[in-house]
């Protein structure tokens, strides 16, 4: 993924002043930034949900996006979600999704409706939907909110497996936890992306 000089404003408030980023294959990268730094705006632009005021975003290959808030249909079961998105991604089966669900400990909830799931379990389904088509570039916006320690650990194991398979992962978080698990770390501050973590974080 190649991002060049992305700028964005909401009316007079400038959020991004010229973001450049190159995400190589087989890399787990992180972007940290304080609340209101523009992380979610940047993610929406990278995901194609929002058109930036200026700049370019180049993607190659399959692409997955896990939004910060679990975007699910409360009336449908976990299994129905998988089949709905299987149709969206034009997949012939959901075996890859089942593998992710096992890795995250979601498989036992397959016949429960999304509206009845706990916050952490909803987030697992949210993540599964982003991963089920085996994307080559994966954007994760605060992906482990609500995870217990065991799921959190499983999440990082899964991320490491994906990286070893040559996938690119970009994790956005407001806290610079787990920097040792990242191959690259960037800080979004003042509308610009800078390498490394700032001292305050």
């Amino acid at each position: 993924m190649e991002v060049r000089d992305v700028r964005h404003s909401y009316r007079r408030r400038t959020v991004l002043r010229g973001v450049d980023l190159h995400l190589r294959p087989g890399v787990v990268a992180g972007i940290v930034g304080e609340n209101g730094a523009g992380k979610t705006t940047l993610m929406k632009i990278l995901a194609g949900e929002l058109r930036p005021g200026h700049g370019t975003v180049h993607h190659r290959g399959r692409f997955g996006y896990c939004p910060q808030r679990a975007v699910l249909n409360d009336a449908l079961t976990v299994r129905q979600h998988l089949h709905f998105f299987r149709a969206a991604f034009r997949l012939t089966h959901v075996r890859h999704a089942e593998g992710i669900m096992s890795a995250l400990g979601l498989a036992s909830h397959v016949d429960e409706r999304a509206g009845e799931l706990s916050g952490g379990t909803r987030q697992k389904l949210n993540l599964t939907l982003a991963l089920m088509h085996d994307p080559q570039v994966l954007l994760l916006d605060e992906p482990y909110q609500g995870f217990d320690w065991d799921t959190y650990r499983r999440f990082w194991e899964l991320a490491a497996r994906l990286r070893d398979a040559g996938r690119s992962i970009l994790v956005v978080s407001h806290l610079a936890y787990d920097t040792e698990r990242l191959d690259e770390l960037w800080t979004l501050s003042g509308g610009l992306l800078r390498p490394g973590a700032v001292d305050a974080q």
Partner: protein, 265 residues
């Protein structure tokens, strides 16, 4: 099944499951519809109310409470269909957007909503037609069903539009309730002295009310009025489709490389 048909069937199936799990809407159908239709019949005077069928120019003089029972049934089905579609659109706009981002074609998503609406509207209208037999014996039950069905379709499409445009749930509920009340109250000669005014012809359920009145108290089949109602449905669907598309559209297709031209201004 071809790819397009399979996508449409899948989306329709899940839209129907969602409607079936909307307990509040089901409670409205089971309780509110017969209650409201019966109350409007019991509360209104039996005094004959002259009403004109514009398609034939014929004046009818049904009992005021029987005419209001038909108006009440229309009011109930429009509220239920409008609410169901508003809820399905309002609560699911982010989910629909995510599906579209994953590659689900938005026309299939919107057509599935329309197909699910048609099936739900048919079921609710059939039930409402049966319920009207508690209060009167409509001369043409099938025509009454058609009137209720077309009105439910129209308000269902309006519900999709409200669900795509409005930002708060209460705004949508208020918009649907007030539209239906104003729409039907102005057409009822028991409640409005302007029920025969030319302006009334522009109300969203005018065609359905005329058709329902003809079905209840005459042997005329006002196809022209049904056509007017279907035109309202088509217009509301088109407008809703455009705003829905605006809400769920994505910048790029799934798996496509993003070109600089997509984003450069």
């Amino acid at each position: 099944m071809t790819g397009h048909l399979a996508l449409l069937v899948t989306a329709t199936r899940y839209a129907l499951i969602e409607h079936a799990r909307n307990r509040f809407a089901l409670a409205l159908v089971a309780v509110f519809l017969p209650l409201w239709t019966s109350l409007t019949y019991l509360a209104m005077p039996e005094t004959p109310s002259p009403v004109r069928l514009r398609a034939t120019g014929q004046w009818l003089t049904p009992a005021g409470n029987e005419l209001t029972a038909i108006s009440g049934a229309l009011n109930a089905v429009t509220l239920i269909a409008g609410f169901m579609m508003f809820a399905a659109t309002f609560e699911r706009s982010c989910f629909d957007r995510r599906l579209a981002l994953a590659g689900y074609p938005w026309p299939h998503l919107v057509l599935a909503k329309v197909a699910a609406l048609a099936l739900a509207a048919a079921a609710v209208s059939a039930y409402a037609t049966a319920v009207t037999f508690l209060t009167l014996s409509p001369r043409q039950p099938l025509v009454l069903f058609a009137a209720l069905f077309c009105a439910a379709l129209t308000y269902g499409a309006l519900g999709v539009g409200f669900g795509s445009v409005l930002t708060r749930e209460v705004e949508g509920m208020f918009a649907i309730v007030m539209t239906s009340i104003i729409d039907l109250a102005l057409q009822n000669p028991v409640m409005s002295s302007e029920a025969d005014s030319p302006l009334v012809r522009w109300l969203p359920s005018y065609g359905a009310m005329q058709t329902g009145t003809a079905a209840g108290f005459s042997t005329a089949v006002p196809l022209q009025d049904l056509g007017v109602q279907l035109t309202w449905f088509a217009g509301a669907t088109l407008a809703s489709l455009l705003v829905f598309r605006h809400r769920v559209r994505t910048r790029v297709g799934p798996g496509e490389p993003w070109t600089a031209a997509e984003f450069v201004r």
